[in-house]
């Protein structure tokens, strides 16, 4: 196995991780600030992908599609927050799980009704097609590189937002003590709507970017949603830093696991058994990772057990 193949997989792992970060950041913020478990986050990812694909095929521009995805997801987020989500803040986790599970059903069927059962396609824009020549003989897809870059920039932006802006202060205060910030006169409902919309926009962006490498179809958000939950549990609920570390960890573990495990087993098993066991174990890898982290640190790597 060549070094360049190995490194290419590492980059893939990073790209996957970065996309998971975009999903998890919103999820962890919403839980950290509002105490809400939102299963419908995957639907916002799907909405972003569908909007991007629809607008891109209508206007012919990938970039307009990307902008559309941000807007559509954010708007959907705002509407859902105002109509349903805000009634759930004071409810227990079971109610939140059920109501947002119901939202998944609503969104999925609505999408199916609007767009039909067949997947849409989103094309990679011309300037990003083709590969980039990197050191050590690696030829890496320009588009995937862009995803990594966008992800890193978003992470930096989020950290700046949280630590340097007034909004960030309110968010951090909200995470520590909800009642207090209300008492201090911060408009809680606007803050919550904003946080929710921000998370939604990030999810939509992730969906749109991934839409060009995979197909855009109903239900695409669900596997990603589960992974995002795994990420925030590993990272610690409420922590953006945890979401980043967790996302990269999960992304790398999954990608490298799928890449390395079958080869590893081939050392002492027959090729077909090796592939079977290797891929079975690879799909279970992240869950094993999550269980191990939780057993060692029940509140996640950077979480506080206050929640």
């Amino acid at each position: 196995m060549s070094i360049s193949l190995f490194l290419e997989q590492v980059l893939n792992g990073l790209q996957f991780g970065v996309m998971l970060f975009l999903m998890s950041a919103g999820l962890t913020l919403v839980f950290g600030v509002m105490g809400l478990i939102n299963l419908a986050h995957g639907s916002l990812y799907m909405i972003g992908a569908f909007s991007a694909a629809a607008i891109a095929s209508w206007t012919g521009s990938f970039w307009l599609g990307l902008i559309a995805s941000l807007m559509a997801a954010a708007i959907a987020g705002v509407i859902v927050e105002i109509v349903i989500i805000r009634r759930l803040y004071k409810r227990d986790h079971l109610d939140q799980v059920l109501a947002t599970f119901a939202l998944i059903l609503l969104f999925s069927e609505a999408m199916r009704w609007i767009f039909g059962a067949f997947p849409l396609f989103l094309d990679v824009p011309d300037i990003l097609s083709g590969t980039l020549s990197l050191p050590l003989g690696i030829e890496y897809s320009k588009y995937r590189m862009m995803i990594i870059v966008v992800g890193i920039l978003t992470a930096i932006g989020l950290f700046a937002l949280i630590s340097k802006t007034k909004l960030g202060v309110r968010i951090r205060a909200g995470e520590s003590d909800r009642e207090m910030i209300a008492a201090l006169g911060v408009d809680i409902s606007k803050l919550y709507t904003l946080v929710f919309a921000l998370g939604a926009a990030l999810a939509g962006l992730a969906g749109a970017m991934v839409g060009a490498i995979q197909s855009v179809e109903v239900g695409m958000g669900e596997p990603v949603l589960i992974l995002a939950f795994v990420v925030i549990v590993i990272g610690g609920i409420g922590s953006i830093k945890g979401a980043l570390v967790g996302a990269i960890l999960v992304g790398l573990t999954d990608t490298m696991g799928r890449f390395l495990l079958p080869s590893f087993f081939k050392i002492f098993l027959s090729p077909s058994s090796a592939t079977d066991i290797g891929s079975a174990l690879a799909s279970m890898m992240i869950y094993i990772l999550m269980a191990a982290v939780l057993i060692w640190k029940p509140s996640g790597l950077f979480g506080n057990s206050a929640k």
Binding site: L94, I237, K307
Partner: protein
């Protein structure tokens, strides 16, 4: 508002009328439907023990449903293909005897519940929900990638399992077996809930600190409830495979976990007949709305949101009088 016991009796009567009608009108489909409701009710009854009475949200019960289902499928398919399961160190052959398969399914799923419970119950709140989900996902992906039993395509079992004295391929006979099992499960649930153990379990839901202060270890109580819950749900899974003569990884998906939770909620948590009412409602919606529109799940979601936001006690909560505990 009527008394809960009267309501429960009415439920049984209504339930039994469906296969009866099916028999008279020569519509075997009704019988299959009623059987499906009964089996899903058993699964819900298992979950209700921990969700309704125990107060912890397990989002991984599909794992137990699926494990029970695969135990049944694997044992039966080995027997029907005359192929032993293991040949070394001693031969273990498959079987199609329900009286062996069902207890075994309960044992295996209960065993998994023990392991998963020991690992998960150290966490609480969201973490518990997520880690139960994670374990279910692990089992799901394992089933998909393990080719020996069909992988993603699933496993077919061309005959129903055997029950002494009955022709299980006959719809009514199979329904009767499932119905009797449901009654037994509900009876056992009632006993558990009203016993000393049930008192401790429901107290731990409301105030675990107080429970520890009187010398009871809350986690031990919850673990045992979790194991019983897993075993009951596993029983339902085994029956489901038998009903459909087919099992596939889709019974292990988190959608299934969510659906089982939906039965429990729609009917009313911590209500003995809640899972039955919820399962019935779910199947009715699936049949009637599903006949009208492909997108019936949209309306299921809509109803679910209404129930969660405005009718927390579920259907039974709206019709029957409140009981004071839990």
């Amino acid at each position: 508002m009527i008394k809960e016991n009267y309501f429960n009796t009415i439920c049984i009567v209504l339930l039994l009328s469906v296969p009866f009608l099916g028999l008279i009108l020569d519509e075997p489909y009704y019988i299959t439907l009623a059987t499906k409701v009964v089996i899903l009710a058993i699964a819900g009854a298992g979950l209700n023990l921990v969700l309704g009475y125990g107060g912890f949200v397990s989002f991984g019960h599909a794992a137990f449903f699926g494990i029970g289902g695969y135990v049944s499928g694997i044992l039966a398919s080995h027997a029907l293909n005359y192929y032993p399961i293991i040949e070394w160190p001693f031969v273990i052959e498959g079987t199609t005897q329900m009286l062996i398969i069902l207890p075994l399914a309960m044992l295996v799923s209960g065993g998994f519940a023990l392991i998963i419970g020991m690992l998960c119950l150290r966490t609480s709140g969201v973490y518990f929900i997520m880690i139960t989900l994670a374990f279910a996902q692990m089992v799901y992906y394992f089933a998909i990638s393990w080719p020996a039993y069909g992988g993603e395509d699933g496993l077919s079992v061309y005959l129903r399992n055997n029950f002494p004295g009955l022709n299980t391929m006959n719809g009514i006979s199979f329904f009767s077996i499932c119905f009797v099992l449901l009654i037994i499960v509900l009876f056992i649930n009632a006993r558990i809930v009203n016993s000393n153990f049930g008192l401790a379990l429901q107290s731990a839901k409301q105030n675990p600190e107080r429970v520890a202060a009187v010398g009871i270890e809350p986690i031990k109580v919850q673990l045992i409830a979790f194991v019983i819950s897993g075993a009951i749900t596993g029983l339902a899974g085994a029956l489901y495979t038998d009903l459909n003569r087919f099992v596939s990884p889709s019974v292990l998906s988190w959608h299934t976990s969510g659906e089982i939770m939906v039965f429990v909620i729609l009917g009313g948590t911590a209500r003995l007949f809640g899972p039955l009412v919820g399962a019935a409602l779910f199947i009715i919606l699936e049949q009637f709305l599903g006949g009208v529109t492909e997108n019936w799940q949209f309306w299921l979601g809509f109803i679910l949101i209404i129930v969660v936001l405005f009718a927390k006690g579920g259907i039974i909560g709206m019709i029957a009088k409140e009981r004071h505990n839990g």
